[in-house]
């Protein structure tokens, strides 16, 4: 049955406001346009970008003012331009000499009290006992959460790789943003609760895109086919992927391939139903080791596939009047964004 609403101001799907695509003959084209609208809708405004950059610049200035032989880098979604509204900013302090000078508790406490005393952050927390000690705080101007770690260069290297992947894989950025939002709404993006992290998500989307028969033969432009590709992403990882057996791997050029788990002890696990993604920088490291909640992730992807295709079948049979104000994407993406007057369903 159709959830019938008139007009294109359906408050549940704010991104379809003034962007009605319900007259598209092909439902996958409708979905492609909705994906583009959604990305435009969640993308930060010029002012928001400026505010984030100012925050980072101010912190960098203060830290290098205190420690002139240090560099401050950003990594994670902020550095790769794959952040959703409200995403954290990840920063790392690295000694210029690369001698791990700042990898100790006294640096950690020195910086956290500096941040507190100079009112650079509110709710400052110093987490010293974690595997990766960090300072967490909230930027008073933008209310953005900031994490600062010390002397860990992995994140910087990963960010550089991701930036090059986004350049050489059109469609990657768009699909990653949708999948990240999909996971975030379901709290399946938090690695320490077994979710799928940002880098793992990027690896899955890129591997899917590069190995797709239509993409591998360059017979389609991914940006024109985002709708069908999103459905097929969920089809692969929600239904068909042989998680017990198959590792997503990358060669020296960063090109994806599959390899059997039997080939490398690093990918074997007491529970065979675990996600295995080979670290592009370290053949013996599984970057999705922490994703122990694969069952829920696979089920969520499979559910998204079901919802999307059923919506396509319903919309295909609906009249133009019934289609008006409908969203194809809305069944899987709920967004509570900057416009607080919109109610989150």
């Amino acid at each position: 049955s159709l959830d019938f609403k008139t007009g294109n101001n359906n408050p549940r799907y704010p991104w379809i406001r003034n962007n009605d695509h319900s007259k598209q003959i092909e439902i996958s084209d409708w979905l492609t346009m909705e994906i583009k609208d959604f990305i435009k809708y969640i993308s930060p405004s010029a002012e928001e970008i400026q505010a984030r950059n100012n925050t980072v610049g101010r912190l960098r200035e203060c830290i290098t003012g205190m420690w002139p032989d240090a560099e401050v880098h950003c990594f994670g979604s902020f550095a790769t331009d794959l952040y959703l509204p409200g995403s954290d900013i990840d920063m790392v302090v690295v000694s210029k000499a690369r001698n791990n000078k700042y990898d100790n508790r006294s640096s950690l406490y020195q910086l956290s009290s500096y941040i507190r005393n100079n009112k650079l952050g509110i709710n400052v927390e110093t987490i010293a006992k974690a595997k990766v000690p960090i300072i967490k705080f909230v930027d008073p101007a933008t209310k953005i959460h900031i994490d600062i770690s010390f002397e860990r260069t992995n994140g910087i290297k990963a960010a550089e790789l991701i930036i090059s992947w986004i350049k050489d894989t059109p469609g990657l950025r768009e699909l990653v943003l949708i999948v990240k939002q999909f996971l975030a709404v379901r709290r399946l993006n938090v690695v320490h609760t077994g979710g799928l992290g940002g880098f793992a998500t990027i690896c899955l989307v890129r591997s899917f895109l590069k190995l797709h028969p239509r993409m591998a033969t360059r017979s389609i432009d991914p940006l024109e086919n985002l709708g069908v590709l999103l459905i097929e992403f969920f089809e692969l990882y929600g239904y068909n992927f042989g998680y017990d057996n198959t590792v997503v791997a990358f060669d020296e050029d960063g090109d994806p391939y599959y390899v059997s788990k039997n080939s490398n002890a690093a990918f074997q696990n007491r529970n065979p139903f675990t996600l295995a993604i080979q670290d592009p920088h370290d053949k013996n490291n599984n970057i999705s080791r922490g994703t122990f909640n694969l069952r829920d992730i696979k089920r969520a992807f499979g559910g998204a596939f079901e919802l999307l295709v059923n919506k396509c079948y319903d919309m295909n049979q609906a009249t133009y009047k019934e289609r008006l104000g409908q969203s194809v994407l809305g069944d899987i993406i709920k967004y509570k964004g900057k416009q607080r007057d919109f109610e989150d369903a």
């Binding site: 092909e26 439902i27 996958s28 084209d29 979905l31 590069k210 190995l211 797709h212 028969p213 239509r214 591998a216 033969t217 360059r218 017979s219 389609i220 432009d221 024109e224 086919n225 709708g227 069908v228 459905i231 097929e232 089809e235 692969l236 929600g238 239904y239 068909n240 992927f241 042989g242 998680y243 017990d244 057996n245 198959t246 590792v247 090109d255 391939y257 599959y258 390899v259 059997s260 788990k261 499979g302 999307l308 295709v309 396509c312 079948y313 295909n316 049979q317």
Partner: protein, 96 residues
Amino acid sequence: NQCKQRRKFNFCTDCNSKTHSADRCPNIWRSYITLPQNKAHKFKYPADLIYCYNCAERGHYGDECLQQRVSKTPNINGSAFTGENLPRELRRQYHS
């Protein structure tokens, strides 16, 4: 009567498949906008990008895998990862 209904449910007049009816045909959504190709264009066989999601071997796609299916969720209508999704002129090479 029941027999009639069953036939309707199990046969697709669009793609002749026996796994779904025409109103639930994957062709409704699995429709690509393909790039225009001029006549002289020849597709390159993507040998180093054909991998099986099921057994991880190179050379075939998961839909054509001969090994036992690993995933416990069924693949009823076929997926994107099949030789049928290659350009027509490459399919013979794939099947050989």
